[in-house]
Structure formats: structure tokens, C-alpha cells
Amino acid sequence: MKLLTGNDLASGAVTWWTGDGWSLHVEDAADVGEHGEAILTAEEGARRVNAPYLIEAVATPDGPRPAHIKDRIRALGPTVRLDLTLKPADPDAGSWVI
């Protein structure tokens, strides 16, 4: 599957295209299939996202898992400061990245 991701303009936070908007949570990300470039162009043009790009991901029962470690770290947060990630209460959150 393919996901569209970028950063929120005001906060810089990592965001994921959900099909009708943007979410901070990769679990909400939609498979953009062959429409990625078109959505990217439209969203960037509308200035609703910063530095958008398309990535490969794998569908899992828990939601999409980005193929590359860099995007998994973007999705979670720094593996060395789990308290600063999106899942601060989950001590095993880092294993999802690795």
C-alpha cells in the first residue's frame, strides 16, 4: 500500500492523509493507491501540508506500517524518548519501529 505523509505547517508535526483530511496517527492513514501524486499536488497546492511525499507501507491488523524505518520513527516519535512519542504509555512502542 502507499501512504501520503507530510508535516503540519504550523506545528511541524508529522501528518498522514486519511482520505478526507490529515491525522497525526498513522493508524488513520489511507491507501492512496495510484492517486497519490494527484492528492499530493492538490494538498500541497491548497497549502494544507508541508513537504508531502509518498511512501510504501504494509497493511497489518493494527493498521499501516511504513516500509522504511525512517517513516516508522516519524510515525511514532524518537525511539530514545518514548515519553515524547505518540504512545508514551506503551513501553513496547519502540519495538514497532525496529
Binding site: 511541524g12 497549502r47 513537504a51 524505518i69 524518537p78
Partner: protein, 543 residues
């Protein structure tokens, strides 16, 4: 310390106002990211993995307690309660909101700080010796000369769009504590026949193509210091490559031209530049130098220190260095607790260091390229009180220059350029060697980790260096041996195939075990490596 004059303050305030308007227009959608990106980078604002990152300049790594407290205030108010001190003696904040950037820059301007020229193809923040003004072996205080370069290079119209970024270091001792020869220009102040001058080493650097800077001129009279610097830059600006980002640094130009030919061209240019009258008059030099006059040291202080507390005694031996003034010492505050993140400090810790500087170090602090903090002028009678306060704040790790005093870039945990994580590797190595006696048995061992070829973690200059690479989507770590950023500058050599995260920790341990087996007398790791060569270590690593 230097204090802004009306011109310094005016240009920084004007830049804050200008950037505030640019941010407003970007948030309003009046300008695109393509238009905005170069503007934010000129103000140190990057977009990294998780958020905007702001890099704040700390000129030649020197700051006072008021400035340090402002850094803590920014961490507490606008970020997530911590900052990261970098290998260029700066500080970075990892979680900045674009809408907060103007307020942060305004706060910085209140304490004579900014984020200008911490990005882009310009002359970056000047770096220097963290012991400047305190070291017994310096021929002069290098900070006035670093400050002169700061003023000269700030908004220099000719050098705002160089072929590539440009880094300058100024030192004044034979012992190099600033990795001077690994800068685009490394300047060592020297004396000849009692007269002050400067040796210029040009064309060093790490990154993709590491090079040690050759000596271009062994003695530039100090009255020609600025003109000669300008000439060095002009030749580079004219002939440095702009067609290929990987060949655009001055080191490539000098490598291709040859050091002798580059020096000849600089001499030719210098003859012209000298007629332009850019070297400041003596009165201006004296004005700048006066800001760096030695503090009012007490005389007659005792040079002895009570070593009854064994933990204090270890810290004293490891982290406290000799000061040129009798009765005083240089205190190194390690930001490398075992298991911690190299260079990170919480806002509370930053405040503690500011308080200690104000109370015990004539209001001065230094940031080191090894990502530690220095209190440069502490009376020996106060060392125990300083240690107790540091200990309480988890800032008393007694590991300066030991294997756990690791330089590590932010790596893939934060940096959008990185290929692999650096910090977890640093943490695992520090934990493997957590036993302090074991570390002290190994002695001076500088381990440096970069998460990509850009070498922000100085892996080329590590006695043991580690480079993280992306190997088919998986983190992989190459091992290098034999580098040094000191006066005996050398570049590390890659040992062979890389390792995974746990494998690289094991490989480091095999290297240190081999060193202990081969060591003669008081040899440091680097001495043993240079004596026996690469092969015994390679054999130990790969079997």
C-alpha cells in the same frame, strides 16, 4: 564577554521583525514553502523528522548565565523541556512550532543571541577553544579574534551565498581542543619573535570527503588577520564549484588546485584586499579585546583541594583541568550520563549550570564541540560545592574523554538526513562500559558516532568512530579506527564490513580488549593503534 553595541542589537532586532513578518505571511498562505524555506533556514529553522528544529548560535561557545537561563526558558516554554548541545558549540530545539518562532527569536535578541547563519551556504558560527582565557598554554585569548570574525562575517554581503557552508575555528594553543584542522579554515594564533600572528590551515573538513586542512600560511601578522581571511574566502567564492553540491566545499577546491597554488592565489588576492582597508584600527581591536579581559581573580588562594570524598576525588581527577591562574580550575560538566542522550540537557539542568556559572565562575559558561559544558574559572575552594550541586542535578558524570563521553549526532531519531540512529548505539556502548573503573583503565578514548555520511558526530575524528548507514532499509554500522580531532589530527580508517546495532557494540569491545592486550606503558588507545597498526585490530574484530 562581548556585549552588543547599538549596531549589533539593531541588526538582530531588525532581523527578528523581518522574519516575524515572513512567518506571518507563510502562515497566512501568502507565500509558498518553496519561497519560505530559504528564509526560515537563514534564521536557523529547519524542518526535521518530527517538527521544526531551531538551531541557536552560541558564538565561539561562550555565554553568560543570563543567556543560559534564556536557553532554559525557551526549552521550557516553547519546546519539550530540553535542548541539545551540538558539535558546533550551538544548541538545538527539536519540537518548535512555526508560530512560536518569532517569539523565540525575540526572546533570544533580548539576551544578545540569535539563530542567524546557523544554516545555509554562509560563514557559520565561529568555533573556538572552550578553555579560552583559562588555558595555561594559550599565546593569547582567541575569543577577541573569533569575535572579530563574527562581526566581519555577519551578513557579509559577498559571503552570504558561498558555494557551500563554511566553518571557521580559532584557537591559540598548541593543544587543539576545537578540531581546528577539520574546519574550512582553522586559525591558530601563534607568536613569532614576540609578535602575535596567525597560522592559517585551509581546506579541512569531515563529511563525505574528509580531509585534514593543509597549512596555507604559517604566520600572518595579526594586523593582516581580517584581510587574509577575506582573501581566503574570495578565492573560494570565485572558484569553488557550484555545479555539484558534493564537490562544493573549499577542501575540494584546494585538493584540486593543490595547496601551494591555492596559497599563491590567496597571496595575490590578499595584496589587493589589503588596499581596501578592512582591517580594523587598533582602537576597535582594543574595544573588542576589553570585553575579554581576565575576570577579577583573587590572588593568594590555596591550590589544595580536600579529596576525602572518594566520588568527588574521581570527578576531580577526570573532569577538572588546570587553570592558568593559581587557586583556580576549569570544570567540565559532562552531558553524558551512562544511558543518557549525549548533549541533551533539561531546562532544569540548564538553569542549574547557569546558577553555578553566576555563583562560581565569573558568570561564564562554554559549550564544547564534544557536547559538554565548561565552567571556565572556578576557585578550587569552591570545587566541592560545585560538584555537590552538579551531582544533585545528575550532571556530575566523571567521564570526560573516557569511552562513555561519546559524541553522537541526533541521528535517525530526529534528523531527516540520517540513515541510522546514533543515540541508541551511544547508549548501548556507554552501558556496556558503565563500570567506571573499566573506563578509567581504558583511559582516554574518544568515541564518535554519526548517523550519516555528513559526519555531524565527527566519526572520522574518533579514536573509534562509528558511521551509521542504510543497508537495504536496515540500519548498519561501520567501524573506523585511528581518527583524531586534536593537534595530532588524523582520519579514521574503516575496518571492514559493518554490523547491526548489537554487533557494533561487540566490535567496539573486541577493539578495546585488543588494545588492553597490546598496550605498553601509559599508551592511550590511539598511541597503541598508531604503534601496532590496523591489522591486529582488524583480526580481533573479524577473526
Amino acid at each position: 564577554m562581548y556585549k552588543y553595541d547599538q549596531y549589533d542589537q539593531a541588526i538582530v532586532d531588525a532581523r527578528v521583525a523581518e522574519f516575524s513578518d515572513q512567518v506571518r505571511r507563510r502562515l497566512a498562505g501568502d507565500i509558498t514553502e518553496d519561497q519560505f524555506k530559504p528564509l526560515r533556514l537563514m534564521n536557523g529553522l529547519y524542518l526535521q523528522l518530527h517538527a521544526y528544529m531551531l538551531r541557536v548560535a552560541i558564538p565561539y561557545g561562550t555565554l553568560d548565565s543570563k543567556q543560559m537561563r534564556m536557553l532554559a526558558h525557551i526549552a521550557r516554554t516553547y519546546d519539550r523541556d530540553y535542548g541539545h548541545f551540538t558539535t558546533r558549540q550551538n544548541i538545538q530545539y527539536n519540537w518548535i512550532k512555526l508560530e512560536d518562532a518569532p517569539a523565540i527569536l525575540a526572546d533570544l535578541a533580548k539576551v544578545e543571541m540569535h539563530a542567524i547563519q546557523t544554516s545555509g551556504n554562509c560563514i557559520r558560527n565561529i568555533s573556538s577553544d572552550q578553555y579560552a582565557g583559562a588555558a595555561a598554554d594559550e599565546v593569547a585569548d582567541p575569543r577577541p579574534w573569533a569575535e572579530l570574525l563574527r562581526q566581519w562575517s555577519t551578513f557579509h554581503p559577498e559571503f552570504s551565498y558561498l558555494p557551500r557552508k563554511f566553518k571557521i575555528a580559532v584557537i591559540a594553543s598548541d593543544e587543539d581542543r576545537a578540531a581546528m584542522k577539520l574546519h574550512d579554515i582553522g586559525i591558530q594564533l601563534v607568536k613569532r619573535d614576540g609578535k602575535l600572528g596567525a597560522a592559517f590551515y585551509v581546506g579541512g573538513g569531515m563529511g563525505r570527503t574528509p580531509m585534514v586542512a593543509p597549512l596555507i600560511k604559517d604566520f600572518v601578522p595579526i594586523e593582516d588577520y581580517l584581510s587574509y581571511s577575506e582573501a581566503c574566502l574570495r578565492v573560494y567564492n570565485r572558484y569553488g564549484r557550484r555545479d555539484n553540491i558534493y564537490k562544493a566545499r573549499i577542501k575540494i577546491l584546494i585538493h584540486e588546485l593543490g595547496a601551494d597554488e591555492y596559497a599563491r592565489q590567496v597571496e595575490e588576492e590578499f595584496a589587493h584586499v589589503k588596499t581596501l582597508g578592512i582591517d580594523p584600527p587598533a582602537a576597535e581591536l582594543e574595544r573588542i579585546a576589553a570585553f575579554f579581559a581576565p575576570p577579577a581573580f583573587e590572588v593568594g588562594l590555596a591550590d589544595t583541594v580536600d579529596r576525602n570524598d572518594p566520588d568527588f576525588a574521581v570527578w576531580l581527577d577526570q573532569n577538572v583541568k588546570a587553570h592558568k591562574q593559581p587557586g583556580y580550575a576549569i570544570v567540565n560538566i559532562s552531558l553524558k550520563p551512562v544511558g543518557g542522550i549525549p548533549g541533551d540537557a533539561s531546562s532544569a539542568q540548564i538553569d542549574v549550570m547557569a546558577d553555578l556559572a553566576e555563583k562560581y565562575s565569573f558568570d561564564e559558561l562554554r559549550v564544547t564541540h564534544a557536547q559538554n559544558i565548561v565552567l571556565p574559572h572556578v576557585a578550587k575552594r569552591d570545587l566541592y560545592a560545585v560538584w555537590q550541586a552538579l551531582n544533585e542535578a545528575d550532571l556530575a558524570a566523571p567521564n570526560l574523554d573516557l569511552i562513555s563521553d561519546i559524541i553522537a549526532c541526533p541521528g535517525l531519531d530526529y534528523c531527516s538526513l540520517a540513515n541510522a540512529r546514533s543515540i541508541p548505539v551511544a547508549q548501548k556502548i556507554a552501558q556496556r562500559f558503565a563500570d567506571l573503573d573499566r573506563q578509567r583503565t581504558l583511559g582516554e578514548l574518544k568515541l564518535k558516532i554519526s548517523g550519516c555520511i555528513n559526519a555531524c558526530g565527527h566519526h572520522h575524528a574518533g579514536h573509534i568512530g562509528i558511521l551509521g548507514v542504510d543497508r537495504k532499509g536496515t540500519e548498519n554500522y561501520q567501524l573506523l579506527l585511528g581518527g583524531s580531532g586534536a593537534e595530532d589530527t588524523s582520519l579514521g580508517k574503516i575496518t571492514g564490513p559493518g554490523f547491526d546495532e548489537d554487533g557494533i557494540v561487540d566490535a567496539v569491545e573486541r577493539v578495546t580488549d585488543k588494545y588492553l592486550a597490546l598496550r605498553e606503558g601509559e599508551e592511550r588507545f590511539l598511541d597503541t593503534y598508531r604503534r601496532v597498526g590496523f591489522d591486529p585490530f582488524k583480526e580481533a574484530i573479524y577473526g
